[in-house]
């Protein structure tokens, strides 16, 4: 069990957790219409590069050049660490980076002017720790769309080891042409705002974001990460399992003997692709969670890839702290076979636990169990 000290989200809905959470409560979405380079309609939640750069320069007063993903990552980590009041440069602090593609946009810019190593995720992680003067080698996880959960599970391990007092978990991914074209090739993007768990869902929206959670090992009231689990479907590298095998197993492992009735809600992966959402419903039902309220945040932030597990954990735990269950944005008509309980309105809860789930390419699935501890 580790304890959340602070958090931050940098997204199109704002640069603070408060701004993002408030926007979610107001039902806002950062997803805006646009075109891909081939002229097709796409809907993406994009960071404003000008606003990001301006904020970055104002906060850090640096002359050196940083890429947009680096700026978002550094700004997010900085804001969260300031709030936590921890020493970033202490040897008792460790950084964990979660990203699927980091600076991949540089691959499409032959004359970008940065050193070659900038393309590597270990470099991005090293820059994160080094920027704040931290002496430890950071942990870098790249486990497709579940990376943000893996990074938080790594935080449990790092703090349990006893070598650290604080772990800063930061996730970042943008949506350059590389990623947009890839998802287009899979025909998995919805040209309009996505509809998780809805009958008319036809694909996902991409989103750009950085998000950070600072964890400590000192017991304190508030949000605690109780446990986490990662399990594979052993079924298909890009198609979700029909039996939800990996997600079911990850749920069983992470929840242990905790009764379903203790769980306030599930912040699901809910990408709005036809197969993912159906797979999740099967897994929830198999795990005895068919009547637990679920919601997806993808219609408000898009799929923020390596940041998703952290960003969505921040929003979900904020709601848990306030005793609220969020409505699943974009959902209107039931469209899932089998039992599932999609949250349609903002409701109150006095339960103390919530679950965050994620699934990704490579057949991987992850589950995090959070508690609003007394």
């Amino acid at each position: 069990m580790i304890y959340k000290l602070s958090d931050n989200i940098i997204s199109s809905l704002g640069f603070t957790t408060t701004a993002n959470y408030q926007a979610v409560l107001e039902g806002k979405s950062g997803i805006a219409p646009g075109k891909d380079p081939a002229g097709n309609d796409i809907a993406v939640s994009r960071l404003d590069p000008g606003k990001l750069e301006e904020t970055f320069r104002t906060v850090f007063k640096k002359k050196e050049e940083y890429t947009l993903p680096e700026q978002a990552m550094l700004l997010s980590a900085h804001i969260a660490m300031e709030e936590a009041g921890i020493s970033a440069s202490s040897a008792r602090t460790c950084f964990v980076l979660s990203s699927t593609k980091g600076n991949i946009h540089l691959l499409g810019l032959p004359s970008h002017g940065f050193e070659k190593d900038r393309l590597h995720l270990w470099h991005t992680a090293g820059l994160l720790a080094g920027f704040f003067g931290n002496p430890n080698v950071p942990v870098t996880v790249s486990n497709a769309c579940i990376s943000g959960a893996c990074a938080q599970i790594a935080a449990i391990q790092l703090l349990d080891q006893g070598n650290y007092d604080h772990v800063v978990v930061t996730g970042v991914d943008l949506a350059p042409d590389f990623i947009v074209s890839g998802f287009q090739s899979f025909k998995s993007l919805d040209g309009e705002r996505c509809r998780p768990f809805d009958a008319r869902r036809k694909g996902l929206n991409l989103g750009e974001a950085a998000a950070t959670i600072v964890y400590g090992k000192e017991k304190k009231p508030g949000i605690a990460l109780v446990s986490g689990s990662i399990r594979n479907d052993a079924n298909h590298i890009s198609g979700p399992s029909r039996t939800g095998e990996g997600l079911f197993r990850a749920l069983k492992t992470a929840l242990g003997n905790l009764p379903a009735g203790e769980i306030a809600f599930i912040s699901a992966h809910g990408t709005a692709t036809p197969y993912n959402d159906q797979m999740e419903a099967v897994a929830f039902s198999r795990a005895g969670l068919e009547s637990t309220l679920i919601f997806s945040l993808k219609a408000q932030f898009g799929h923020t890839l390596g940041a998703a597990g952290i960003l969505e954990s921040v929003i979900a735990t904020k709601a848990l702290e306030q005793g609220l269950i969020l409505p699943s944005s974009g959902y209107e008509q039931p469209g899932i076979e089998g039992a599932i309980n999609v949250s349609t309105t903002l409701s109150k809860t006095d339960k103390r636990f919530c679950i965050k789930t994620l699934s990704g390419f490579g057949g991987c699935n992850a589950v995090l169990l959070f508690e609003n501890a007394l």
Partner: protein
């Protein structure tokens, strides 16, 4: 005490199983062609192999060699084994290939190339081939680091019900192959002690 019960090392020059060099005569240039030669030598009969990117091929072959040496049952679903790999270059080898296919005139490149632009796909390929239902994880390190790899594997063992971790270093970039795959078992009377020193020696 945890033991390394089998290991396989694949470089551009050779394939080593538990200290012994496999008698594979490479005729092609280093890179993808050599991976195909190893596949033929193994007579693996797994046509999906040919669809994989080079990183997945390399990790798949080393895993295949290790699991065969242990008579691993690849037909029965196995929830007690995990797959944890690490490398330096993530999926950059396939990323470059995918980037070359992107231009406004051909905006829908092959999904078969795109799916491999994630480093953890190799762990998924190994899980699918062997019906492994435990954890699959991928970490990035600047260089091969036995101490860090040892730590990541210990983390995987801390998850309930996990008794074995197929693990190691799977690096592939620009025709350079650098792979060490090991099986680490929780309770085994045989094998090398699972520690940083031994991991370094095998590499």
């Amino acid at each position: 005490m945890k033991k390394i019960t089998s290991y396989c090392r694949i470089t551009d020059q050779q394939v080593i199983l538990n200290g012994k060099k496999l008698e594979i005569s490479f005729s092609g240039d280093p890179g993808s062609a050599r991976l195909t030669e190893i596949y033929r030598y193994l007579d693996a009969k797994y046509p999906k192999f040919h669809k994989m990117d080079n990183l997945s091929k390399a990790g798949f072959l080393a895993s295949e060699i290790v699991l065969r040496s242990l008579d691993y049952d690849s037909e029965t679903p196995d929830g007690s084994t995990s797959v944890v790999f690490a490398n330096r270059s993530a999926s950059l080898d396939d990323d470059k290939r995918f980037q070359e296919t992107i231009d406004p005139d051909n905006y829908y490149p092959s999904p078969a190339v795109f799916v491999y632009t994630l480093p953890n796909i190799v762990t998924g390929e190994v899980a699918i081939r062997n019906k492994i239902l435990g954890e699959t994880s991928f970490f990035i390190l600047k260089d091969f680091d036995a101490e860090k790899i040892h730590i990541f594997i210990e983390w995987a063992f801390s998850s309930p019900g996990i008794n074995r971790v197929l693990c190691g270093w799977t690096e592939y970039l620009d025709d350079l192959c650098d792979v060490l795959v090991m099986m680490v078992e929780k309770e085994s009377p045989e094998g090398m002690d699972f520690n940083t020193l031994n991991i370094n020696q095998l590499y």
